[in-house]
Amino acid sequence: MTEHMADPRSISNTVVALRGVGKTFDSGTAALRGFDLAVRDGEFVSLLGPSGCGKSTALRIIAGLSTASEGAVDNSAAGKIGFVFQEPTLMPWADVAANVRLPLELAHATANGAVAQALARVGLGDFAHSYPRELSGGMKMRASIARALVTEPHLLLMDEPFAALDEITRFRLNNDLLAVWQELRRTVIFVTHSVFESVYLSQRIVVMTPRPGRVFTEIAIPAPYPRDEQFRTSADYAGYCRQVAQALGRAMGGAAA
């Protein structure tokens, strides 16, 4: 990884800044090339693109779980990150409370009610002593989100967290996630391949090209929050979705999709 000496942050309250980031795996696969991204403090941004466009790779590079082959990565929230995987990724041998407590335990921090608070925030207050396999898919994902929130992270990274859920559960979790975001006002970077989900949740959508992924265009969704089921059925929402879907289509255009 090459670090430029120049400060890559161009906006004063930028939390995450990626400049010309490229990632080539050992296998020779180029996942990202010339990827630029700047995320402001408190912003809800979605990375939208076809599967295999490197959006998960970008998220892992931001988290520090993967290193960029080229370009500059600046993350002022490093060490204060919460990460939610596509799968719930819970420890099956530990109950929900122990799973949520894990990040505190690894940092030798005292829980002091943080676990109960995080569980209450995602509506799992009554399931602290249930085991993961006793929970539904949606509840497992809630536990996973509670674990990501328990350290009060400055930056929440979410890698297609609701992709495996049914639509009804996904809608409910979308609403609950927005409620949490509005309360905490933390920065969220949300990876998804769903146009509808990205429009519903985000202030800004970054549309990516197929592999090697780079930014095709960015679309702001200026609809006010709180957004609810009324927004989901509004003409505005439909309009944004059309706009984003068209951009995604153009992003795919150059490639054999």
Binding site: L65, F83, T89, L106
Partner: protein
Amino acid sequence: MNGRALRILLPLFVLALVIAAWQAAVAVFAIPPYVLPGPGLVLSTLLADRALLWQSLLVTLTITFEGFVLAAVGGIALAVAFNQWRAVEYSLYPYAVILQVTPVVAIAPLLLIYLPQPLAVLACAWIVAFFPVLANTTLGLSSVDHNLLALFELYKASRWQVLWKLKLPAALPQMLAGLRIAGGLSLIGAVVAEIAAGAAGAGSGLAYRIAESGYRLNIPRMFAALLLLSLAGVVIFFVLSALSYLMLRRWHESALTRER
């Protein structure tokens, strides 16, 4: 009749059938007891020789238990060492395999030359029992969910936190499966070594009783000792299965009954 009752009654029915056939064969063909004793004679020998056989059983069980504990500790410790230091795995794994594929019957006479007999018997029990623990635990430690590993990395977990809080609990089901195999094998190893020591040996375990009874044509006692040996193996298996069930029942698929 429900499935549970059938699972208990059907094997009992087979057992009764075999015993009846055995008794009938002995009676009809007038087989002398020094060739094949009837089930009644085996049972009465078991009762008559109970002091001697009980003593021998305790000796065999003690060796089996010691071999099992050493195999469990050694197998798990070696698996952890393999997992933590690649160089250790590369250096020692081939020899663990060689030790495993060489039949213990062939090693036992050599061990009996170089070691005092009790130690040689224990070594045999250990050699056959430790490999399944090693192999299963190694597999368990290396098949941890990659995302969970990434999560631990994200929260800057130390190497030992990853081992204690992630890899060892994740490996528990495979580890317990290895221990369940090791329990039976440890008994087999102890028996093989005692038989190998044979007449020259000064042993007093059940296997030694079988060998000794054979030389003396005391076939009923041979059967009685064999019966005790099988029972010991069955009990070991059930105890370890129960232990496995108790440790996994809250979370692992293997310990859960499927809802229908």
